[in-house]
Amino acid sequence: MRNIIHQDWFIVAALWTAPVVFLSIFYFYPLGSILITSFSRGEGSLVSPFYEMLSSPSIQNIFCFTVWQATLSTILTLIVGLPGAYLIARYNFRGKSLLLALTSIPFVLPTLVVASAFSALLGPRGWINLALMGLFDLSHPPIQFVNTFWAILVAHVFYNTTIILRSVGDFWSHLDPRQGQAGQVLGANRLQTLFHITLPLLMPAILASAMLVFIFDFTSFGVILVLGGPRYATLEVEIYYQTISLFNLPLAAALSVLQLVCTLGFMVFYTRLSAKVSRPFTLRPRRYTQSRLISWKSRTFAALYITFLIAFLVTPLIALAARSFTRLEPNRGQLTPVQTGFTLDYYKELTGNRRQSLFYAPPSTAIAVSLTYALITIILSLSLGFPASLALVRERGKGINRVFDPLIMLPLGTSAITLGLGFIIALSHPPLDLRKSVLLIPLAHTLVAFPFVVRSLTPALLSIKPRLRQAASVMGASPVQVLRHIDLPLTGRALLVAAAFAFTISLGEFGATALIYRPEYPTLPVMIYRYLSQPGGLNYGQALALSTILMVITGAGMLAIERFRIADIGEF
């Protein structure tokens, strides 16, 4: 017995090696460097920026607002996402993969593009306001959206619903429905079954994805700036303001530390809670857990929910795509002949270098670059995240896992501008002089994707009964064989979910990429921002055309990942 425990410890340590080396070099070292440099620029003692931070009423307000909006956004995202996760988990219907692919598109879209999609619908001259004004004969648009608190919440739900749909939906699909049925046979009603059987079993997955959503909202930047407007600020926005506008690096560093400490606190809380709620049970292949939409109740539910989801998540996307094919010279009176109609001009213009610009790149280059980075991100984050997840579930809550478990989420809670500047200071000497290297971009993307991969894999791995592994070991299977024949097949779906997250994170990332990209290798979001930063109808049209291309690539990529099958991976 002692021997087995010893071996376990050794395996856990070995599994951690690669992830820890990676995080140390590309996360902790740059972060430490920038924090030390920033604090050493302060005139007073190390305590004074913290004192300045804690005693400032405006920063106290910002802190409270950050927590408040993140909590509300997460709750709303769960309310919107969980019924969908149920639908995806329990029913088979035509177009399910397409629906899943479509709902993941918002995740990659640049905030500026999403803002313009929302204002096309809900802005003062948006379709909905115009329709309402016409209908009720109003003189002013009835819906105020842009620059409101609601806009922030709606945008967060818009971006993050896919996280709930994917991770909870996948996990739910392996829950044995017979447990619930047994409960009902014993006299429980549907609600009792839900609250006493289904939800407790689902808790690990719900907690894991809610945590991801919460941290995303907690560190929200673009949504707050563009949709919330100047009256709202999160810690992340304040860090940017202190760093760039005021160059108050000590205070910015203190704020970054505060954000990190909070993230760590949330993670410790999460780890405690999730250890309490998770219990192993038998995973069932999906073919046993899913049924067709036969009863009228399930059909009505599916119809209502899908309609809502399409109205909420897909209509703005369609508005964007439609605009990229529309020639329109709006509200310019009689100065020029107004033409409205179908056009391919924006797409044609993309392929030509009218200004003979040095930095021009055809869309094919941007697509290739984006896909290459995404592929590298998938490979890196899976090959780091899989061993880390295995280690986490081997000796849960014990030994080094106690330390590492909360730590791996830290990159998500780190201010992008702080870490970006950290790269510049830390990775400046050979052999690590990566400041000008294109490799820096997939590395940065991997830092964000890694926690997603781990959080997608651990609930699935946790549900595997240890007895299965022990039985295999007793029968003489080597640890590698246990991995091959038990862990890997049983987490196949979760691996695909993790890959999908890595793919979308890399495709949509802009904040870090903008700091470190090389002009020869622009990603799609970089190109979209480049067009949007210039006046002129063609530039605007080209930005929307590129956004449409980005949407199509994302959708196609998600469908491809969904179909991906090697041996029994993904079949289960």
Binding site: R327, R332, D345, I424, S533, G541, I569
Partner: protein, 361 residues
């Protein structure tokens, strides 16, 4: 169904090895681009609005047997912070793009080596804000109010002619501006009002603007494309803070060829703020000689004439000729608002904070 034998462990190993190889190759290839004997590499750090014609850069590279590597580093403030933080071990040889609102930060941090370029004699004194020539002026652009011509024509009212006009009931709910804390034209407009009304008066003016329902958004893109009615974004407000070059760009990048821009810039005295952008040789760079040649080149008419169509900014060298489009559609302000870079550096934080407290909260 055919079952393919597959060993996940093996394939995982392959994938890891492959990924390391690919990443290693991609990491190596761009940095060690084949340097033909005699070809020197010069790295120029720029902000993300930088652009130039292929041909112009090619000319310089041919003439000096050099290869120029451009390093876009985020917006102006971010790029400057990167340059400052890498001071001991600079990322590049030359830094382009610091403007007069950030100039003092760059000079105080001592990131540049002084260089008295011979071409400087051609540049008018008014642009040389750093008399020690650590930072050399390259171009300027004016942040001015733009308006939607059709709107004012239809309504039969005249567009505003002064800052004071904007606070009149006639122009209620028409103006959209950017937050000075997050946007560079926004900061320029705040500085315009401070230059006009003084430290004692600008907040009162802003309170009047607020009563007149001014809309404040965080970035130029949202202001221009989402809120401004003269752009293609179909916004509701006909007056926006943008640049004096914007109307010309509405012509150049029109969806259908047009002869008259849909927008116009207001360039009356004191309503515009001039942003001058500078270039400097980074201290500790490897290639001083070539860096000097590049700085000279940026000031000569060849490069200067290329800038307007690439970056919407205008040459400081009077020998550079402007493209026909600009001659036709560009109105330059005669008298711009002025606040010295030193005063901006000293007061930026206080102005921004008092403005935020008084107007936003």
């Amino acid at each position: 169904m055919k079952k393919i034998r597959f060993n996940p462990i093996k394939s995982l190993v392959y994938i890891v090895v492959l990924s390391i190889l690919t990443t290693a190759c991609t990491a190596i290839s761009p940095t060690s681009s084949p340097t033909i004997s005699g070809t020197k590499e010069l790295t120029v750090m720029v902000h993300d609005s930088f652009a130039a014609s292929d041909e112009v850069i090619q000319d310089f590279e041919d003439e000096h047997q050099a290869k120029i590597v451009f390093l876009p580093s985020g917006d102006t403030g971010t790029a400057l912070n990167k340059a400052i933080l890498s001071k001991g071990n600079p990322l590049a040889d030359v830094f382009y793009g610091v403007d007069n609102t950030f100039l003092s930060r760059a000079l105080d941090e001592g990131i540049f080596d002084a260089y008295s370029s011979p071409v400087l004699t051609e540049i008018p004194e008014e642009f040389k804000l750093d008399s020690n020539n650590y930072a050399l002026p390259v171009d300027y652009g004016d942040v001015c109010l733009n308006y939607d011509r059709a709107y004012f024509q239809e309504k039969g009212i005249s567009p505003p002619m002064s800052l004071e006009d904007l606070s009149k009931p006639k122009y209620k709910s028409l103006l959209v501006v950017q937050n000075p804390a997050t946007s560079s034209p926004g900061l320029a407009f705040l500085l315009t009002t401070i230059a006009q009304y003084g430290e004692d008066g600008y907040l009162d003016y802003w309170k009047k603007l607020k009563e007149n329902d001014v809309l404040i958004v965080n970035d130029w893109e949202t202001a221009y494309y989402t809120e401004f009615s003269g752009s293609s974004g179909k916004g509701p407000r006909p007056i926006v803070v943008s640049y004096d070059s914007s109307p010309a760009f509405e012509v150049i990048y029109a969806e259908t060829p047009i002869t008259e821009p849909s927008t116009a810039a207001i360039v009356t005295d004191g309503t515009c703020f001039r942003q001058t952008e500078f270039v400097g040789i980074l201290k500790g760079g490897k290639n001083r000689e070539l860096a000097e040649k590049w700085v000279d080149f940026m000031l000569t008419p060849k490069f200067q004439e290329d800038m307007p169509l690439q970056m919407f900014v205008f040459p400081v060298n009077p020998h550079a000729k402007l493209d026909e489009v600009f001659v036709k559609y560009l109105k330059l302000p005669e008298k711009t608002a002025y606040i010295s870079p030193q005063a901006i550096a000293q007061n930026r934080e206080r102005w921004l904070q008092t403005w935020t407290e008084a107007i936003l909260r």
